[in-house]
Symmetry: C2
Subunit: 191 residues, 2 copies
DNA sequence: GTCTATAGGGGGATAGAC
DNA sequence: GTCTATCCCCCTATAGAC
């Protein structure tokens, strides 16, 4: 009972890492099996299909994000600090072997992935944008943020630029990612 | 002589389209062959390997971009119009079956693609950013643009957000992409 | 230039033994 | 829970006939 839960968790960790590293079409059951020193079929015992595995990865990620944003440690922060926390998530991806955002990776491969997985990606994307939008609106109302346009479109710009710059950092180095984060801050923080 | 040049061009067109639609790992020689009603091996006659094919696609794209930006029709435009032209490139991708930027697509798969291809992606990325940077600097100097930060970091933000929002549009619809473009314009145009 | 045929590898997935 | 064995499909790439 404990063993299987640990196995599932370990497999999900590996799958999440591989998805961020190589995309859906870029990793295989064999990658996970060899990392765990077991055979291919053992992974199928825990997750019957690659689609089921990837869906479980995204669902767990969505749960995690939901827990974070509803936790007092994040929820009670000032808007500027919330935004810093948000950027920190992706900075950690960047530092951790140049991983990219799951949403961006799967959207590049969107036309090749199973339908059930598409729905999960869409949900994660929507939920992330929704939180950013509310955070930006809150900060603008309190005078911490200053920007033209709606919180929704500003949120879309920030999120898409973070996704894009994580990808760019693979070819041009981490500096590009950090430049984009700093530029985003300058463009939104009230002088 | 003419025939082979036409074949090469047709194959490059298909490969470029497939790369933007499904990524490097998401398309195969068979996709191209069946679209041309020929067999797999015929494609190998024109491009010996998948790496060579993808490299040729990017090189042709780079040439095209270079011709555009050095052509009087673009070169002599006002900075605002240059920026509009830039956004239009990606708007056309979006309209044309939801394609994404080649650079972003290949950077998501960066850890799985051949080395020669990586170098081409890096070059295209650098050249695009360089043009954007110069355009932004020019516009700022002339008073058409107004923004904090360096032209380089603003260029990185704009380019990465366009890449990211094209991807986002696949899950959330074209509206997201257009929102990001409009927000970018608001954030850079002098009031 | 395109064909048939084939080599040689990798992929996801399942059945049945242990 | 993990193993071996296997199925079946798709992939890149090459050789040699036409």
């Amino acid at each position: 009972m404990v063993k299987i839960e640990n196995s599932k968790r370990t497999i999900l960790n590996l799958a999440e890492s591989l998805l961020q590293d190589r995309g859906f079409n870029g990793f295989s059951y064999a990658d996970i099996a060899s990392a765990l020193n077991v055979k291919n079929a053992a992974i199928h015992y825990h997750f019957p299909s690659k689609e089921a595995l990837a869906i479980a990865v995204i669902q767990r990620y969505r749960e995690r994000f939901k827990l974070w944003i509803n936790n007092a440690r994040i929820k009670d922060l000032a808007p500027q600090e919330k935004l810093n926390w948000f950027f920190k998530i992706y900075e950690d991806f960047r530092v951790n072997n140049g991983k990219v955002c799951l949403v961006g990776a799967l959207e590049v491969e969107f036309n090749t992935i199973p339908d059930g997985l598409k729905k999960e990606v869409e949900s994660l994307n929507r939920e992330t944008l929704a939180w950013l939008e509310v955070t930006l609106a809150e900060g603008k109302k309190h005078g911490a943020f200053q920007f033209n346009g709606t919180p929704a479109s500003k949120a879309a710009l920030i999120y898409s630029s973070v996704q894009g710059s994580l990808q760019m950092a693979r070819a041009l180095g981490a500096k590009k990612f950090r430049e984009v984060v700093e530029q985003n801050k300058m463009d939104v923080l009230a002088a």
